[in-house]
Amino acid sequence: MAAAWTPDQPIVSIRAVHKSFGAIEVLKGVSFDVRKGEVVCIIGPSGSGKSTLLRCINALVPINSGSITVEGQEVHDPALDKLELRKKVGMVFQSYNLFPHKTALENVMMAPIHVLKRPKSEVEALARRLIKKVRLEGKEDAYPGELSGGQQQRVAIARSLAMHPDIMLFDEVTAALDPETVKEVLVTIRELAEEGMTCMLVTHEMGFAREVGDHIYFTDRGVIVEHGPPETFFKQASDPRTRAFLSQIL
C-alpha cells in the first residue's frame, strides 16, 4: 500500500516510463511531476507518444517499465483497484465517444449511477448542474447524433466531471472540431482550470497553452525534449528540435 499522500507532494509522478507496442518503442524514458492545481500542456509532433502517455496515466494502456503514481498510488500495480483510480482521474477524448444510444443527460448520469452506485435523484441533480456549467442547458434530452461536435465534446467533459475526479486528462479534445466550436470547448476547460482542477492537456492550441498553461512539455520521439513555463518556453526555447516545431506551428 502506498504511503499517505499529502497535497504538497506531486499529484502525478512519472518516472522513467518506457512503453513499446510490439517492436516500436513509443515512450523512451519519460519523467516529470505534476503538482495539484497545475495545468500541464503536452505538445509535440504526431507519433511522439503524447496520447499514449495520457492513456498510461489512467491505466488504459500498461507500461513496460518505470512508474506512474497518482496521489501516491502506483498506477501499474497489479493489485490496484482500477475503479478507485478512475474515480480520481477523468479523461476526455478527441472523438468525444459519447454513448450514441443515450441522451446527453443520461450520458452524464450513467457512470455515477452504475459505477459509484449513487442514488438516481442525487445524480440527476448533479448532472443537470454540470450540463448547465458547460453551457448546454436545454440540450439535456438531445441524443449525441443531434448535437454538434463542440456540444458533444462539452457533454463529454461534463460526463467525466460527474465522477468528481481530482485530475482531468484531455487528449487533443479540440482536434476534431472546426474553429468556431474550438473556442467554446477551450472556454470550458479554462473555467475548470481557474476553479483549481489539475489538468493535463495534449493539445495543438498554442494560444490556449500560452494563456492557461502553467507548464509546457515538448515531446518528440518518445522523450521530453524541453519543458518550462509558457513565458520562457515560447520565447526562449533552447533545443533546436523545439524551435523547429514551434516555428512550424506558430
Binding site: N58, L60, K82, L83, R86, K87, G90, M91, F93, S95, N97, L98, F99, P100, H101, M110, A111, H114, V115, L116, Y143, P144, G145, E146, A156, R159, S160, M163
Partner: protein, 248 residues
Amino acid sequence: MEGLWDFLRSLHDAYGINLVHFYDAFERGRLLRGMWTTLKLAALCVVLSVLIGIIGAWLQGSRFRVLKALVQGYIQFFRNTPPLVQMYFFYFALGPQMPRVENEFGIAQPILGSFAWAVISLSFFAGAFNVEIFRSGVEAVQKSTVEAADALGFNRWQIYSLVVFPLAVRVCLPALNNNLVNLIKTTTQAYAIAVPETLYVASQIWSDRINVFEMMVTLLTFYLLIVGIFVWIMTRVERSLRVPGFGQ
C-alpha cells in the same frame, strides 16, 4: 360462425372444394392445436436462440483461448450440418441415453419428449447463426466508445450490458430478423420427429379427408401470416430502437 361453416360446406357440395378442416369441429380442433404447437415451438426457439447468441458472443470476447475455440467449434458444427440431421441426432441418438421417468400410466418414457428435443435442436441451430450476427454487431461498436466507458470506471460486464450490447443490437437487427424468420420456417422440420405441429396435423387431416390441395393452401396461408406478423412486429421494434444520428 355457423353461417360461415354452412357457406364452406356449400362450397364443397357445389364445387368440390373440401374445407372440412374448418367446418368440422374435430378437424378444426386438431388443426388449431397444431397451430398452437407451432406458435409455442417458434416462440421458445426464438427466445432460446437469441439467448444462446448473446452468451456465445460474450464468450467469444473472452480471454481464454479454449473458450473461444469451443464456441467456434460449436458454430462451425451447427452451421455446416443439416438441421434435420441434427434433430434426428438429438432425438434418436441422444434421446434414448437420457434417464427415463414414469408417466401417469406407470409407463417409463424418456424425460425429454419430441417437442423438447425439437426446441433444443432448433435453438442450437439458430443460436449458432445468432452468435455470428451478434459478434458482427459487437465488432461494429467503435473501440473509442468502449474506451470511454473503460475510462469512466465501468467493469467489463457493465461495458457489455450498458454500452456495447444496446449499440450492437441496433446494428445487427436486420440480419437477426432474417435469421429468426428462417427459424420460424424451419420449425416445420419437427414434423420428422412427430411433433404435432401444423404440418404434421395437416398431413393427418389430408390423409383422412383427401383434401391435400385445400390443406396446402391453408398451411401456406398460415405460415405466410405468422411470418408477416413477425416481420411487422420486428419492424416496429426496429423503429422504436432508432436513435437519431446513429447508423442512418
